[in-house]
Symmetry: C2
């Protein structure tokens, strides 16, 4: 038989080493969310396709979703993103929930795509969202959380930057200042989204197809050239976009006060999902020349609950994937060493007759919360140390003929090299030594 | 629009309260596994159906599996159980892995079944397995781990028992002692499996259909009447099943030495999955009269790697589901109170002008690892305490007009009722107080 030992295409096996790394990532995410008093939630791995259609339209459904009809004739899909589930759960509970609502989750998601660097079919995504926070304070808190997360991973602003924009600015520029209709605005959004990925010539060609008049083109390329907070403020003043200026300045003031400015770069090309975001939008971008890519995206949205016929509620959130995060951490040499597990004690014996007493002591120590790795057969003294290293043990217990006679265990502290002879019965003394 | 706010049939939403409970269950499982030096692994949520067919045959595939054909024409399924993935991963890595291999995982699994008490379509299962341990020591360690798990949940042997049997005993009794052919042995296994769920009359009727002779019937009902270790030893001696007696006694001796006996009950009807287990089999059974059901099943197996054409390797393991576990803990009043989150500090202010300083202090405390919940608008003194309770805060920070003037925060310890006036700049002092 030729059964494959490999995981399904685009997915990963997590052997203990990989799982320890994943746990490190998840624990750092959870710790950060808890520092900001965000509460964890989760939903089912399957939802009805109706839900995804309502949120994302047909495009995502047709191309990238793992959908199928269940045995009860329900058209369902493995979750490709968490937001629709979040919307459903918030819609079901927000009336009874204390505001602002601060939630996070680390779901695994599946998208049908060609596996490549930074993109797999199954990945995990750290999602943080805040609902119903006062004007601009939710945006600032979500950004603080994102920065704290990166700091908790050991990163600083030499390694990453947060590219930021405000959809209100883009909307006012395109619709009011340039007087574009909905359709042209939409097309221009698509062009902006691609602006950094194409040459200037191609960009100009794309724009020329929209048949803008000279003034409109000037404004557009003027807008696209902005790259600092100062420059966008001047732009908004120059064209008298007062409302956009006021709200973006309010955000900027908070960002200054709360120490976010060293992490932020104004970027007019950041627009994110067109039908979803309505305010501040951002991406965390790797600054390393070999890994210039986004590792996180998010922003402010207003109409999450619309698909459930609920009143609008402001929300701000982001999603950060484990695959791109790992690439970032690897690029900046920030991955921890997880080659070995960690154990408090390796219990070994050097005399067959000691098996039972070794097991009894192990059991009592475990009952006291000690992490014990026991051997099942006698082990020569000189083999013990390499095993202890592989097991990441802090202490080793030896029980040889001598110890059996004296009814003691020899416990060695591998760091300080100190040794202790402790009676079989003195479990408390062992626990004190080991913890 | 009529979009449903409910999760897909047979699955659950985990709002923060439910998620905290799930985290408690998972953390207790992980803690227990680590006490025994088991290392965590995980696999993809999807596998090719071939893998499940190879392990379980067609029955499971046809009735209960969430299978579908992907866009690349692969026939795949959402994992209904973890064992095939485990087998694949062990087959891929065992040659380079230190023995014994001690692994655990807490995957979510999906089975298409009618949702009912203790059974949902999506559930999580704690899986522990040990490979290549010396004779009977793996069985004993896995049982110790299961007992420790129940103890770590606060349960004792008045609440649960481990029903235990040895497939070697059943095989020897049916095939050698009763001289039954393979087909009749198989049918009798099926009857044994149902024995406790039917009346004695129905049981006798089922047996009579097998056309056993009088001696065979006597032996069979003699076997079925056994219910203590003493009685099975006498049975094995009486019928001279020496090999089964020797190996089961060896297990029993370890169980005595390692303190397992108070948790074990011999039960001749425990046989578990027919094609899979080969040695000791067991179920953890709830003793409560209102919840008489298994919450965990496992045993020893030898041929896990056969489907990959690898050499046999002994293994022992168990699976324990979160739904039945929760029912058990609820029945015995062992569920923790998870109604509120836990936070170190609730930061409030009583003067609009204090917003920025409150946010700055919050940020600095978070940078020092403190879990801080901040309010975004001023909060009257008398409303602060009920909010602190809902947020599970240990301390409250107040910044009113007075504090703004003095540039201090008033921090109150909610347990001791002590209050402290601390300068805005003395972050270290605050951290010391709060941690």
């Amino acid at each position: 038989m030729g059964l494959s030992k490999k995981p399904y295409k685009g997915t990963r096996d997590f052997f203990p080493v990989e799982k320890r790394l994943q746990n490190y990532l998840f624990e750092t995410m959870k710790k950060t969310a808890h520092q900001f008093s965000y509460e964890e939630y989760d939903g089912p791995m399957i939802e009805e396709v109706e839900l995804y259609k309502a949120k994302s339209g047909e495009e995502l459904i047709n191309d990238q979703i793992y959908s199928f009809t269940d045995r009860g004739n329900r058209f369902v899909a493995i979750r490709p993103e968490m937001t629709p589930t979040l919307a459903r759960m918030v819609a079901a509970s927000y009336k009874e929930t204390l505001r602002p609502i601060r939630w996070f989750s680390i779901p695994n998601l599946m998208r049908y795509e060609r596996p490549q660097k930074g993109r797999l079919r199954e990945h995990w995504q750290f999602n943080c969202d805040i609902f119903d926070a006062p004007d601009r304070l939710g945006e600032v808190e979500i950004l603080q959380l994102a920065v704290q997360l990166m700091k908790n991973f050991g990163a600083d602003n030499t390694m990453f930057e947060i590219l930021i924009n405000d959809r209100a600015i883009v909307d006012e520029t395109f619709e009011n200042l340039m007087s574009l209709d909905k359709d042209t605005t939409y097309k221009l959004y698509k062009i902006v989204d691609k602006a950094k990925k194409v040459t200037e010539d191609i960009l100009k060609e794309m724009v020329s197809k929209l048949n803008l008049n000279e003034e409109q083109e000037t404004i557009f390329f003027d807008y696209l050239s902005l790259n600092t907070f100062e420059s966008i403020f001047i732009f908004l003043q120059k064209y008298k976009l007062d409302e956009a200026l006021t709200t973006f300045k309010k955000f900027h003031n908070y960002a200054v006060e709360f120490g976010l400015i060293p992490f932020l770069t104004y970027d007019p090309t950041i627009v994110r999902g067109l039908d979803y975001y309505t305010g501040i939008v951002f991406e965390i971008f790797d600054k390393h020349p070999e890994n210039r890519r986004a590792i996180c995206g998010g922003g402010a949205y207003a109409n999450l609950l619309k698909i459930f016929n609920e009143k609008p509620m402001t929300g701000v959130g982001f999603g950060l994937g484990d695959v791109t995060l790992t690439d970032f951490l690897r690029t900046h040499d920030l991955l921890p060493n997880v080659n070995t597990p960690t154990n408090d004690l390796l219990v070994t014996f050097q005399d067959d007759a000691a098996l039972v007493v070794a097991q009894k002591i192990s059991a009592k120590l475990r009952d006291n919360g000690v992490k014990v790795c026991s051997t099942f057969s006698k082990l020569k003294f000189n083999k013990v140390f390499s095993l202890a290293e592989k097991k990441g043990a802090s202490f080793i217990a030896f029980i040889g003929g001598n110890e059996l006679e004296k009814k003691t265990v020899l416990i060695k502290n591998l760091k300080s090299k100190e040794q202790f002879d402790i009676s079989f019965d003195s479990i408390d003394e062992m626990v004190k030594l080991l913890k």
